[in-house]
């Protein structure tokens, strides 16, 4: 793992470096380089050809720089899609939702937190980054884009899609959310082979089906959610589901 610190305030930079080093010793986290700088350009130059997992601590407001922290983070993201980005900043610059959306930032650490809380948060970030070291795969996201909408959602959260009263309007049912948008069901069914149109009005995510209630013709998901399966397609749904499970189990 490589660790990068971007911070223009020298005392803060040294403080963070000190804390990170101490924590790495404490948890036996090994890193190849620990690189601190006040210049975004120098950090970006270091990125080329990096193979390891990287952890970035970025300050959002860098003096005398036309780049904002957000732009730096976006550039980092382009070069390093899997790295772990953490913002270290003051409260007034806090914008967690925006940064999580833009660059999938892991966390925000406020500089003006009490020392212990500050250390705890750095610790948590280090540990997460250390765990991610072994996983280079990006999270399995379902991205959908058509003329009318554009969104992303973790694939594992998707339960099923259904048609609504309004023609061409689709509702996505996920574990803790719903999303309504304009599209065609067949468009969605064609997006991924784990999707299957088991009924005129439903496309299910086979990967999250728990069981099939043959008597009531229902596809059952976790947390009591369910949707109808047409009689004609019931058998095929079960076959596809089992095929998918077998495919996944040896892994």
């Amino acid at each position: 793992m490589n660790i990068f610190i971007l911070e223009d305030h020298l005392i803060q930079q040294q403080r963070l470096e000190r804390i990170v080093k101490a924590l790495c010793v404490k948890h036996h986290i090994r890193y190849r380089h620990l690189f601190s700088t006040a210049k975004p350009d120098r950090l970006l130059a270091q990125l080329e050809g990096a193979l390891d997992h990287q952890l970035y601590f970025l300050d959002l407001e860098i003096k005398n720089e036309k780049h904002t922290g957000l732009e730096v983070a976006q550039e980092i993201r382009q070069k390093d899609p899997y790295g772990t980005i953490v913002f270290v900043t003051t409260h007034s610059e806090l914008a967690p939702k925006t940064f999580a959306y833009r660059v999938a930032a892991l966390d925000f650490i406020e500089k003006d937190l009490p020392e212990e809380e500050f250390i705890q948060k750095v610790e948590a970030c280090l540990q997460i980054a250390d765990e991610r070291r072994n996983l280079s795969a990006s999270p399995d996201l379902f991205s959908f884009e058509n003329k009318y909408t554009s969104f992303q959602i973790p694939f594992s959260e998707i339960l099923y899609f259904e048609t609504m009263d309004v023609p061409h309007k689709i509702r996505l049912i996920a574990t803790s959310r719903t999303l309504e948008f304009y599209a065609e069901l067949h468009e969605i069914a064609a997006c991924d082979e784990r999707f299957f149109r088991c009924h005129r009005a439903f496309v299910v995510n086979l990967a999250s089906v728990r069981s099939i209630d043959k008597k009531n013709k229902l596809v059952v998901f976790d947390h009591g959610a369910s949707c109808t399966v047409s009689r004609r397609l019931q058998k095929e749904t079960i076959e596809k589901m089992e095929a998918l499970r077998q495919e996944e189990s040896p892994k």
Binding site: L70, T90, H91, S92, L94, A95, P96, K97, T98, Y101, R102, E110, D112, E145, K147, Y148, T149, S150, F151, V166, P167, H168, K169, I173, S176, R177, T178, L179, E180, F181, Y182
Partner: protein
């Protein structure tokens, strides 16, 4: 042949109705409705002659109700009346030229050309209507469905009454004409012309009334906006005053610290730090200032509403976090609808958050190349069940409520480029409006 012409007339009714109402029908629906229409039309024409058309009027109201039963209003009845009168009107206008034209084309032919005349006359109205509506829609700015929904009664009721009068006067004449084959008495012609003028007049009245209401609404929202922006300015001044106070204190703190340091009285330095410097951290962490981020929002209609709602929330001691990190210059949606949705979502969020312990409200506006996202998040007491949300009258707030979210969905049904995401976690509820940018109207 006679029945064929009636069938075509019934189809004409239907297509005029379809193009004025702009209801979306699936192929299946169209075929079912047409079958129903043909049967009812034939039967009623057979039984009561030309008055059969009036039973179709009933059918149109039925369709309107079926299509739009949640927000069924005067407009549904208007569409039916329009289809009925417009069909007769355009048929009447087209009759003479078409008769002349068919005579011209078929003058060599010995066949009975009367049927052709009838046939063409029956087919003309939907075509003319379509051309007319296309022209009107091209040159008249987009009507706001919001306004029509709200003021439907004022706009449509007089027109419906006029249409009813027209139908009641014109049909007996047509009916009598049908029986005797005689249409051309002088009085009848005068009545016809008068009625058609009345019809055109009523359409003009509608146009006038609509524009009048629109103007009034615009003025009203402008003055509201001004009020909200004034309030916003007052709030900014207050923040500035607090900062001035802070600056003043800060100077004092520095002096005291300096004094302590030069005299190497570390006890004093420590004391000043603990008692006066450390507490300012709270000041720095205060979210009250997050609304200064509104400066990045350059759409004043939206800005004023956001400012007003944020202040309202802060008065209720809700911790408001606002994120507008980059400049936003435009909203890819009709502003009346957008502000309406925004206020409903914010009202809901504020009301829900106010009852909770953590009392939090988060508002995020962010834009990228493809979409503009508006996220509104609030703390909530329970985990909201997403299944019933948005149904008319369903509300976590008790009886007789729950129209807000339903209205949001109604508005969104008119905007294909808008998607709504709803997320529910323990003690946290959030809604995200995703506006695809290509949906921007030119």
């Amino acid at each position: 042949m006679y029945y064929l012409i009636i069938a075509i007339q019934i189809l004409s009714f239907f297509f005029i109705f379809k193009s004025i109402s702009r209801y979306v029908f699936t192929v299946k629906e169209i075929s079912v409705w047409l079958a129903v229409f043909l049967i009812i039309g034939w039967v009623s024409t057979y039984l009561i002659g030309i008055w059969g058309a009036v039973t179709l009027f009933g059918c149109f109201i039925g369709i309107s109700y079926y299509k739009n039963h949640r927000t069924f209003s005067a407009s549904g009845i208007f569409y039916g009346a329009y289809a009925l009168v417009m069909n007769s009107f355009l048929g009447y206008l087209a009759a003479d030229p078409i008769t002349w034209f068919t005579r011209l084309i078929f003058r060599q032919s010995s066949a009975n050309i009367d049927y052709f005349t009838y046939l063409f006359t029956a087919m003309a109205p939907p075509i003319m209507n379509e051309i007319l509506l296309r022209l009107v829609r091209r040159f008249v700015p987009q009507l706001s469905k919001e306004l029509i929904r709200e003021y439907g009664k004022i706009i449509f009721v007089p027109v419906i009454v006029l249409c009813a009068i027209i139908i009641v006067t014109v049909y007996p004449i047509l009916d009598a004409g049908n029986r005797t084959g005689e249409y051309s008495s002088y009085h009848q012609k005068t009545i016809f012309t008068g009625m058609w003028l009345l019809f055109v007049g009523s359409l003009l009245y509608m146009q006038f009334q609509y524009h009048h209401i629109r103007k009034r609404e615009l003025e009203k929202s402008k003055s509201e906006q001004l009020e909200q922006l004034k309030e916003y300015a007052v709030q900014l001044e207050k923040i500035y005053d607090e900062f001035r106070g802070f600056r003043h204190d800060y100077a004092n703190i520095l002096l005291t610290l300096e004094d302590g340091i030069y005299r190497e009285d570390w006890e004093q330095v420590k004391q000043v730090y603990e008692n006066t410097v450390k507490p300012t951290r709270q000041f720095l962490r205060n979210n009250d200032y997050s609304f200064v981020k509104l400066r990045n929002l350059h759409v004043s209609e939206v800005k004023s509403i956001l400012a007003a709602k944020i202040m309202m929330a802060q008065q209720l001691k809700i911790d408001v976090a606002l994120e507008i990190e980059e400049p936003i210059d435009s909203i890819p949606m009709d502003l009346i609808s957008f502000t309406r949705i925004l206020s409903i979502l914010l009202d809901n969020a504020i009301e829900a958050a106010a009852g909770t312990e953590g009392c939090k409200l988060g508002i995020v506006l962010l834009e990228d190349a493809a979409v503009l996202r508006l996220q509104i998040e609030n703390s909530s007491i329970e985990t909201v069940d997403l299944r019933n949300l948005g149904a008319r009258g369903y509300s976590t707030k008790g009886e007789g409520r729950g129209l807000g979210l339903h209205n949001v969905q109604q508005i969104l049904n008119d905007y294909k480029y808008a998607s709504l995401e709803t997320e529910s976690q323990p003690h946290l509820f959030s809604q995200t409006l995703i506006l695809r940018k290509s949906g921007e109207r030119p």
